[in-house]
Protein backbone atom coordinates (compact mmCIF):
# COMPACT_ATOMS: atom_id res chain seq x y z
CA UNK A 1 0.00 0.00 0.00
CA UNK A 2 1.31 3.41 -0.88
CA UNK A 3 2.38 5.80 1.83
CA UNK A 4 -0.69 7.98 2.55
CA UNK A 5 1.56 10.90 3.41
CA UNK A 6 3.02 10.99 -0.09
CA UNK A 7 0.24 13.23 -1.39
CA UNK A 8 1.68 16.22 0.45
CA UNK A 9 4.96 16.23 -1.48
CA UNK A 10 5.39 19.40 -3.51
CA UNK A 11 6.13 19.23 -7.25
CA UNK A 12 7.69 22.14 -9.05
CA UNK A 13 5.86 23.24 -12.17
CA UNK A 14 8.13 26.11 -13.25
CA UNK A 15 11.55 25.93 -11.58
CA UNK A 16 12.83 29.41 -10.72
CA UNK A 17 16.14 29.83 -8.98
CA UNK A 18 17.19 33.30 -7.79
CA UNK A 19 20.66 33.62 -6.30
CA UNK A 20 20.59 30.14 -4.83
CA UNK A 21 17.07 30.45 -3.38
CA UNK A 22 14.41 28.17 -4.77
CA UNK A 23 11.26 30.17 -5.46
CA UNK A 24 9.76 27.92 -8.09
CA UNK A 25 6.13 28.04 -9.06
CA UNK A 26 4.79 24.84 -7.52
CA UNK A 27 1.40 23.14 -7.54
CA UNK A 28 0.78 24.81 -4.19
CA UNK A 29 1.28 28.23 -5.80
CA UNK A 30 -1.00 27.21 -8.66
CA UNK A 31 -3.83 26.39 -6.26
CA UNK A 32 -3.23 29.64 -4.37
CA UNK A 33 -3.56 31.63 -7.61
CA UNK A 34 -6.70 29.66 -8.43
CA UNK A 35 -8.10 30.45 -4.99
CA UNK A 36 -7.52 34.18 -5.42
CA UNK A 37 -9.07 34.09 -8.89
CA UNK A 38 -12.13 32.24 -7.62
CA UNK A 39 -12.62 34.61 -4.69
CA UNK A 40 -12.36 37.64 -6.96
CA UNK A 41 -14.75 36.05 -9.44
CA UNK A 42 -17.26 35.18 -6.71
CA UNK A 43 -17.25 38.67 -5.19
CA UNK A 44 -17.33 40.50 -8.52
CA UNK A 45 -20.08 38.35 -9.95
CA UNK A 46 -22.01 38.98 -6.75
CA UNK A 47 -22.20 42.74 -7.15
CA UNK A 48 -23.08 42.72 -10.79
CA UNK A 49 -26.84 43.07 -10.50
CA UNK A 50 -27.25 44.59 -7.02
CA UNK A 51 -30.87 43.53 -6.76
CA UNK A 52 -32.71 43.97 -3.49
CA UNK A 53 -33.77 40.33 -3.62
CA UNK A 54 -30.48 38.62 -4.39
CA UNK A 55 -29.98 36.20 -7.22
CA UNK A 56 -27.75 33.15 -6.84
CA UNK A 57 -24.24 34.68 -7.10
CA UNK A 58 -25.23 37.63 -4.96
CA UNK A 59 -26.74 35.33 -2.35
CA UNK A 60 -23.50 33.41 -1.93
CA UNK A 61 -21.42 36.58 -1.80
CA UNK A 62 -23.80 38.09 0.74
CA UNK A 63 -23.74 34.96 2.90
CA UNK A 64 -19.95 34.95 3.04
CA UNK A 65 -19.83 38.69 3.67
CA UNK A 66 -22.45 38.59 6.41
CA UNK A 67 -20.86 35.60 8.13
CA UNK A 68 -17.53 37.40 8.51
CA UNK A 69 -19.15 40.79 9.17
CA UNK A 70 -21.20 39.23 12.00
CA UNK A 71 -18.04 37.83 13.57
CA UNK A 72 -16.17 41.13 13.31
CA UNK A 73 -18.91 43.38 14.68
CA UNK A 74 -19.83 40.94 17.44
CA UNK A 75 -16.26 40.70 18.74
CA UNK A 76 -14.71 44.05 17.91
CA UNK A 77 -17.74 46.31 18.04
CA UNK A 78 -18.62 49.17 15.74
CA UNK A 79 -15.09 50.55 15.51
CA UNK A 80 -13.85 47.11 14.58
CA UNK A 81 -15.18 47.53 11.07
CA UNK A 82 -11.76 48.70 9.92
CA UNK A 83 -10.41 45.20 10.56
CA UNK A 84 -13.06 43.64 8.34
CA UNK A 85 -11.00 43.48 5.06
CA UNK A 86 -8.15 41.75 6.92
CA UNK A 87 -10.39 39.15 8.54
CA UNK A 88 -12.36 38.58 5.34
CA UNK A 89 -9.16 38.02 3.35
CA UNK A 90 -7.92 35.54 5.93
CA UNK A 91 -11.27 33.75 5.94
CA UNK A 92 -11.39 33.45 2.16
CA UNK A 93 -7.75 32.32 1.99
CA UNK A 94 -8.34 29.50 4.46
CA UNK A 95 -11.72 28.59 2.96
CA UNK A 96 -10.39 28.40 -0.60
CA UNK A 97 -7.41 26.39 0.56
CA UNK A 98 -9.62 23.89 2.35
CA UNK A 99 -12.27 23.61 -0.36
CA UNK A 100 -10.00 23.43 -3.41
CA UNK A 101 -8.16 20.54 -1.79
CA UNK A 102 -11.31 18.42 -1.90
CA UNK A 103 -11.30 18.37 -5.70
CA UNK A 104 -9.69 15.08 -6.82
CA UNK A 105 -6.09 15.40 -8.01
CA UNK A 106 -5.89 18.89 -6.51
CA UNK A 107 -3.68 20.18 -3.71
CA UNK A 108 -4.53 21.59 -0.28
CA UNK A 109 -2.14 24.41 0.44
CA UNK A 110 -3.47 24.80 4.00
CA UNK A 111 -2.26 21.32 4.86
CA UNK A 112 1.34 22.52 5.05
CA UNK A 113 2.51 23.84 8.40
CA UNK A 114 4.59 26.53 6.68
CA UNK A 115 1.50 28.12 5.10
CA UNK A 116 -0.71 27.92 8.18
CA UNK A 117 2.24 28.93 10.36
CA UNK A 118 2.74 32.04 8.24
CA UNK A 119 -0.96 32.92 8.50
CA UNK A 120 -1.06 32.34 12.26
CA UNK A 121 2.14 34.33 12.78
CA UNK A 122 0.61 37.16 10.74
CA UNK A 123 -2.46 37.20 13.00
CA UNK A 124 -0.42 36.98 16.21
CA UNK A 125 2.07 39.59 15.07
CA UNK A 126 -0.66 41.97 13.98
CA UNK A 127 -2.56 41.60 17.27
CA UNK A 128 0.58 42.13 19.38
CA UNK A 129 1.79 45.08 17.32
CA UNK A 130 -1.61 46.77 17.38
CA UNK A 131 -1.76 46.25 21.14
CA UNK A 132 1.73 47.63 21.68
CA UNK A 133 1.07 50.58 19.38
CA UNK A 134 -2.17 51.46 21.10
CA UNK A 135 -1.30 50.92 24.76
CA UNK A 136 2.49 51.22 24.77
CA UNK A 137 3.76 49.48 27.91
CA UNK A 138 0.35 49.11 29.48
CA UNK A 139 -0.13 46.26 26.99
CA UNK A 140 1.66 43.92 29.40
CA UNK A 141 -1.18 44.27 31.88
CA UNK A 142 -2.82 41.68 29.63
CA UNK A 143 -0.87 39.05 31.54
CA UNK A 144 -2.21 40.07 34.95
CA UNK A 145 -5.89 39.29 35.46
CA UNK A 146 -7.68 41.51 37.94
CA UNK A 147 -8.53 40.63 41.50
CA UNK A 148 -5.70 38.23 42.33
CA UNK A 149 -4.19 37.64 45.77
CA UNK A 150 -0.76 39.26 45.81
CA UNK A 151 1.15 36.02 46.44
CA UNK A 152 -0.22 34.30 43.35
CA UNK A 153 1.08 36.93 40.93
CA UNK A 154 4.57 35.42 40.30
CA UNK A 155 2.85 32.11 39.64
CA UNK A 156 0.17 33.39 37.31
CA UNK A 157 2.27 35.68 35.09
CA UNK A 158 4.47 32.94 33.50
CA UNK A 159 1.38 30.81 32.92
CA UNK A 160 -0.37 33.69 31.20
CA UNK A 161 2.70 34.52 29.10
CA UNK A 162 3.09 30.92 27.98
CA UNK A 163 -0.57 30.62 27.13
CA UNK A 164 -0.35 33.85 25.12
CA UNK A 165 2.71 32.61 23.23
CA UNK A 166 1.00 29.29 22.49
CA UNK A 167 -1.72 31.05 20.48
CA UNK A 168 0.01 31.10 17.08
CA UNK A 169 1.16 27.52 17.64
CA UNK A 170 -2.32 26.23 18.35
CA UNK A 171 -3.85 28.32 15.57
CA UNK A 172 -1.49 26.99 12.92
CA UNK A 173 -1.34 23.38 14.08
CA UNK A 174 -5.13 23.15 14.40
CA UNK A 175 -5.70 24.06 10.75
CA UNK A 176 -2.73 22.08 9.41
CA UNK A 177 -3.50 18.93 11.41
CA UNK A 178 -7.20 19.01 10.48
CA UNK A 179 -6.45 19.28 6.78
CA UNK A 180 -3.58 16.81 6.75
CA UNK A 181 -5.43 14.20 8.80
CA UNK A 182 -8.57 14.55 6.71
CA UNK A 183 -6.77 13.92 3.47
CA UNK A 184 -4.65 11.15 4.96
CA UNK A 185 -7.76 9.35 6.16
CA UNK A 186 -9.37 9.70 2.74
CA UNK A 187 -6.33 8.21 1.05
CA UNK A 188 -5.99 5.45 3.65
CA UNK A 189 -9.53 4.22 3.18
CA UNK A 190 -9.30 4.52 -0.58
CA UNK A 191 -6.17 2.41 -0.30
CA UNK A 192 -8.18 -0.23 1.56
CA UNK A 193 -10.65 -0.28 -1.29
CA UNK A 194 -7.89 -0.65 -3.86
CA UNK A 195 -6.16 -3.40 -1.86
CA UNK A 196 -9.39 -5.35 -1.40
CA UNK A 197 -10.16 -5.26 -5.09
CA UNK A 198 -6.62 -6.27 -6.03
CA UNK A 199 -6.24 -9.12 -3.56
CA UNK A 200 -9.92 -10.10 -3.41
CA UNK A 201 -9.96 -13.85 -2.86
CA UNK A 202 -12.98 -14.39 -5.08
CA UNK A 203 -15.16 -11.71 -3.48
CA UNK A 204 -13.95 -8.56 -5.24
CA UNK A 205 -17.21 -6.72 -4.65
CA UNK A 206 -16.35 -6.38 -0.96
CA UNK A 207 -13.91 -3.75 -2.15
CA UNK A 208 -16.77 -1.35 -2.72
CA UNK A 209 -17.61 -1.10 0.99
CA UNK A 210 -14.71 1.22 1.96
CA UNK A 211 -15.91 3.45 -0.87
CA UNK A 212 -19.11 4.26 1.01
CA UNK A 213 -17.10 5.15 4.09
CA UNK A 214 -15.08 7.46 1.86
CA UNK A 215 -18.25 9.17 0.63
CA UNK A 216 -19.30 9.89 4.21
CA UNK A 217 -15.77 11.03 5.04
CA UNK A 218 -15.84 13.44 2.09
CA UNK A 219 -19.01 14.99 3.52
CA UNK A 220 -17.29 15.33 6.89
CA UNK A 221 -14.29 16.95 5.22
CA UNK A 222 -16.56 19.47 3.50
CA UNK A 223 -18.11 20.42 6.84
CA UNK A 224 -14.71 20.63 8.51
CA UNK A 225 -13.41 22.87 5.69
CA UNK A 226 -16.07 25.47 6.49
CA UNK A 227 -15.80 25.07 10.25
CA UNK A 228 -12.02 25.46 10.28
CA UNK A 229 -12.18 28.63 8.18
CA UNK A 230 -14.88 30.02 10.49
CA UNK A 231 -12.90 29.13 13.62
CA UNK A 232 -9.76 30.75 12.17
CA UNK A 233 -11.68 33.98 11.53
CA UNK A 234 -13.32 33.96 14.98
CA UNK A 235 -10.04 33.35 16.79
CA UNK A 236 -8.43 36.17 14.79
CA UNK A 237 -11.17 38.52 15.99
CA UNK A 238 -10.84 37.29 19.58
CA UNK A 239 -7.07 37.83 19.60
CA UNK A 240 -7.50 41.30 18.10
CA UNK A 241 -10.11 42.12 20.72
CA UNK A 242 -7.82 40.92 23.51
CA UNK A 243 -5.04 43.16 22.28
CA UNK A 244 -7.20 46.22 21.72
CA UNK A 245 -9.37 46.15 24.82
CA UNK A 246 -7.06 44.55 27.39
CA UNK A 247 -9.83 42.46 28.95
Amino acid sequence: MHNPLEQFVIDRIVPINVAGHDISFTQSSLVMVLGVALTALLMLAGIRKQALVPGRWQNVSEMLYEAVFGIVTENLGEEGKKYFPFVFTLFMTVLMGNLLGLIPYSFTYTSHIIVTGALALLVFGMATLIGLWKHKFHFFSLFLPKGLPFLMIPLIIPIEVISYLSRPVSLSVRLCANMMMGHTMLKLIAGFSASLIMLGFGLKLVGILPFFVNVALMGLELMIAFIQAYVFAILTCIYLKDAIELH
Binding site: N3, P4, L5, S170, V173, R174, A177, N178, M180, M181, T184, I224, I227, Q228, Y230, V231, I234
Partner: protein
Protein backbone atom coordinates in the same frame (compact mmCIF):
# COMPACT_ATOMS: atom_id res chain seq x y z
CA UNK B 1 14.52 -3.34 19.60
CA UNK B 2 14.60 -2.42 15.92
CA UNK B 3 13.63 1.12 14.94
CA UNK B 4 10.65 -0.11 12.92
CA UNK B 5 9.13 -1.90 15.92
CA UNK B 6 9.70 1.10 18.17
CA UNK B 7 8.00 3.40 15.65
CA UNK B 8 4.87 1.26 15.53
CA UNK B 9 4.69 0.97 19.30
CA UNK B 10 5.11 4.73 19.62
CA UNK B 11 2.31 5.31 17.13
CA UNK B 12 0.03 2.99 19.06
CA UNK B 13 0.77 4.78 22.32
CA UNK B 14 0.15 8.16 20.72
CA UNK B 15 -3.34 7.22 19.58
CA UNK B 16 -4.37 6.41 23.18
CA UNK B 17 -4.35 10.17 23.76
CA UNK B 18 -7.43 10.57 21.55
CA UNK B 19 -9.44 9.34 24.56
CA UNK B 20 -9.37 12.74 26.28
CA UNK B 21 -10.92 14.82 23.47
CA UNK B 22 -13.41 12.01 22.93
CA UNK B 23 -14.71 12.40 26.48
CA UNK B 24 -14.57 16.18 26.17
CA UNK B 25 -16.63 16.13 22.98
CA UNK B 26 -19.16 13.83 24.59
CA UNK B 27 -19.61 16.24 27.51
CA UNK B 28 -19.83 19.23 25.14
CA UNK B 29 -22.47 17.70 22.91
CA UNK B 30 -24.46 16.40 25.86
CA UNK B 31 -24.62 19.91 27.24
CA UNK B 32 -25.59 21.32 23.85
CA UNK B 33 -28.45 18.87 23.53
CA UNK B 34 -29.72 19.49 27.04
CA UNK B 35 -29.45 23.26 26.50
CA UNK B 36 -31.51 23.02 23.32
CA UNK B 37 -33.98 20.83 25.18
CA UNK B 38 -34.45 23.32 28.00
CA UNK B 39 -34.68 26.41 25.80
CA UNK B 40 -35.58 25.58 22.19
CA UNK B 41 -35.58 29.23 21.14
CA UNK B 42 -31.84 29.48 21.88
CA UNK B 43 -31.07 26.61 19.52
CA UNK B 44 -29.30 28.78 16.93
CA UNK B 45 -26.96 30.53 19.35
CA UNK B 46 -26.14 27.29 21.15
CA UNK B 47 -25.45 25.49 17.89
CA UNK B 48 -23.13 28.15 16.44
CA UNK B 49 -21.17 28.55 19.69
CA UNK B 50 -21.02 24.77 20.07
CA UNK B 51 -19.62 24.39 16.58
CA UNK B 52 -16.72 26.72 17.36
CA UNK B 53 -15.82 24.92 20.57
CA UNK B 54 -16.13 21.55 18.84
CA UNK B 55 -13.38 22.65 16.45
CA UNK B 56 -11.17 23.78 19.31
CA UNK B 57 -11.46 20.45 21.12
CA UNK B 58 -11.12 18.44 17.91
CA UNK B 59 -7.76 20.13 17.36
CA UNK B 60 -6.38 18.32 20.42
CA UNK B 61 -7.48 14.94 19.08
CA UNK B 62 -5.81 15.78 15.80
CA UNK B 63 -2.56 16.76 17.53
CA UNK B 64 -2.44 13.22 18.95
CA UNK B 65 -3.36 11.55 15.65
CA UNK B 66 -0.81 13.68 13.81
CA UNK B 67 1.92 12.57 16.18
CA UNK B 68 0.96 8.94 15.55
CA UNK B 69 1.32 9.37 11.78
CA UNK B 70 4.50 11.32 12.31
CA UNK B 71 6.00 8.39 14.22
CA UNK B 72 5.12 5.85 11.58
CA UNK B 73 6.04 7.70 8.44
CA UNK B 74 8.29 10.61 9.19
CA UNK B 75 10.76 9.62 11.91
Amino acid sequence: MEPQVAKIIAAGLAVVAVLGPGIGLGILFGNIISAIGRNPSAADAVKSTGLIYFALIEALALFALGMAFFFIYAV
